[in-house]
């Protein structure tokens, strides 16, 4: 065998650590997706921000006392505190923050629940805000990085029928493209409990039943061309397999169970945050009762 052939052979016959290689490529793709979700829009915004000739003033310090000055605007049982709204521009950097912190009114639910949820909402938004400031580099006054981002957060009452109070709270971060997160609290006002998904059912059969229904709706939406979802392409773990007992859910105004997924969790970003309304008859044999869902 001549030396070239030998060398090429040697080069081509190295052992490939198949599983690890696959895992590393998959990991890097995932990481790149996360980076793109954040950074790509900043590239896109660069030209626009430079061209618009924004007035260069720092009209709000990026240090805001979150729990200061309550300005309750009454919206039914949930008061929105709208004191955290400011713009920050200094030419290169443009950030808008608009946070409406939901606060459940006293007496709308048992005291312990009201205070713990209100504390949770404040904490959540404070954390979202601090993360936003750090991610955007706004905590570094001398940074040269070009920033064009916004953060908003708020809440709405999905359902309030005297028995159940359902609050949806969300954050929306945009840096060109947007990333929304939605969370729900389903509160049994009469009994003073925050509902968990497993607590709605008397056995574990609900998981299989809901999975089957979600798969059915996904297939239906894909067939009609309405939405696309991730599938098992052999390389990604990101596709719908099963809900977990702590899946995001809420009970809608029609007393139907709705299962919610995050953006990118089971579908490309274009699909938004997929929600599946589960017809009650597919889960009725597993329901603990018809108090909440019927």
């Amino acid at each position: 065998m001549d030396s070239l052939e030998k060398a090429i052979n040697e080069y081509k016959s190295i052992e490939i650590p198949k599983e690890e290689l696959e895992a590393r490529v998959r990991g890097a793709i995932k990481k790149a997706r996360a980076i793109r979700a954040k950074a790509a829009p900043v590239w896109a915004a660069r030209g626009a921000a430079a061209a618009s000739g924004l007035i260069i003033t720092l009209n709000a310090a990026p240090s805001v006392a979150m729990a200061a000055a309550e300005a309750p605007g009454l919206r039914g049982v949930v008061n929105a505190l709208t004191f955290n709204r400011f713009n920050l521009t200094d030419g290169k950097r443009r950030a808008e923050v608009s946070l409406e912190t939901p606060q459940i009114a006293e007496g709308a639910a048992p005291e312990a629940i009201v205070s713990s949820l209100n504390a949770k909402y404040l904490k959540e938004q404070r954390e979202a805000y601090e993360k936003f400031i750090a991610d955007a580099g706004l905590d570094k006054p001398d940074s040269d990085e070009i920033i064009n981002r916004s953060l908003s957060a708020g809440a709405e009452v999905v359902k309030n029928d005297g028995g159940l109070l359902v609050i949806k709270h969300w954050t929306l971060e945009t840096a060109g493209s947007s990333l929304e997160t939605r969370r729900f609290d389903n509160i049994d006002v009469e009994n003073g409990v925050i509902l968990s998904l497993p607590a709605l059912f008397k056995d574990d059969g609900y998981i299989g039943a809901i999975n089957a229904e979600i798969s059915r709706q996904m297939a239906e939406q894909e067939a009609s061309g309405e939405k696309t979802y991730f599938h098992d392409d052999g390389y990604f773990g990101e596709f719908f397999e099963t809900i977990s007992p702590d899946a995001k859910f809420y009970i809608n105004s029609g007393n139907k169970l709705v299962i919610v997924f995050d953006k990118y969790e089971i579908a490309p970003g274009s699909a938004g945050l997929p929600e599946f309304i589960i017809p009650t008859d597919v889960i009725s044999s597993h329901l603990a009762g018809d108090l909440y869902i019927n």
Partner: protein, 165 residues
Amino acid sequence: MLNRIEKYCVENRTVMYRLAYGYTKNRDDALDVVSDAVLRALTTKSAPRGEELKPWFYGIVVSAALDFLRKRKDRANIEGGDALMNIPASGDNAPDEDLMEAVNRLPEPDRTIIMLRFFEDLKIEDVAKATNLRVSTTKTRLYAALKKMRGFSQLAEYAKNTATM
């Protein structure tokens, strides 16, 4: 669902690993290079299409590998050893010396040119694109490199026969 470049990375993962290993000669380091190359490929603003994709992709793996080696060298220097810079005096190719070792001893970008041209079988034009060199420069360096490894006449022969590819 994988996008175009993600799919390309997945499909070419073995090629990436092989090339990375060609530089690092070490499994774990090669995996690091692959991971970095995928990240670079996917976070670049615009990836080319069609025939331009292949040399562009190779170029990314090469620069990820070279950056890695640079860092490894810095680290080795800081740690006080230069065991990784295992470069013997050049010029005397013992007749039984492994061609692979001779390639490894070439300075950059000659080593990359040789690896892409012979081991990965890229066209000269694609090697030039991957290394960001002019075609004429690539050819010149290729022959200079072959001359340096003059013990390997067959390689030179092969290069001559395929020079028009």
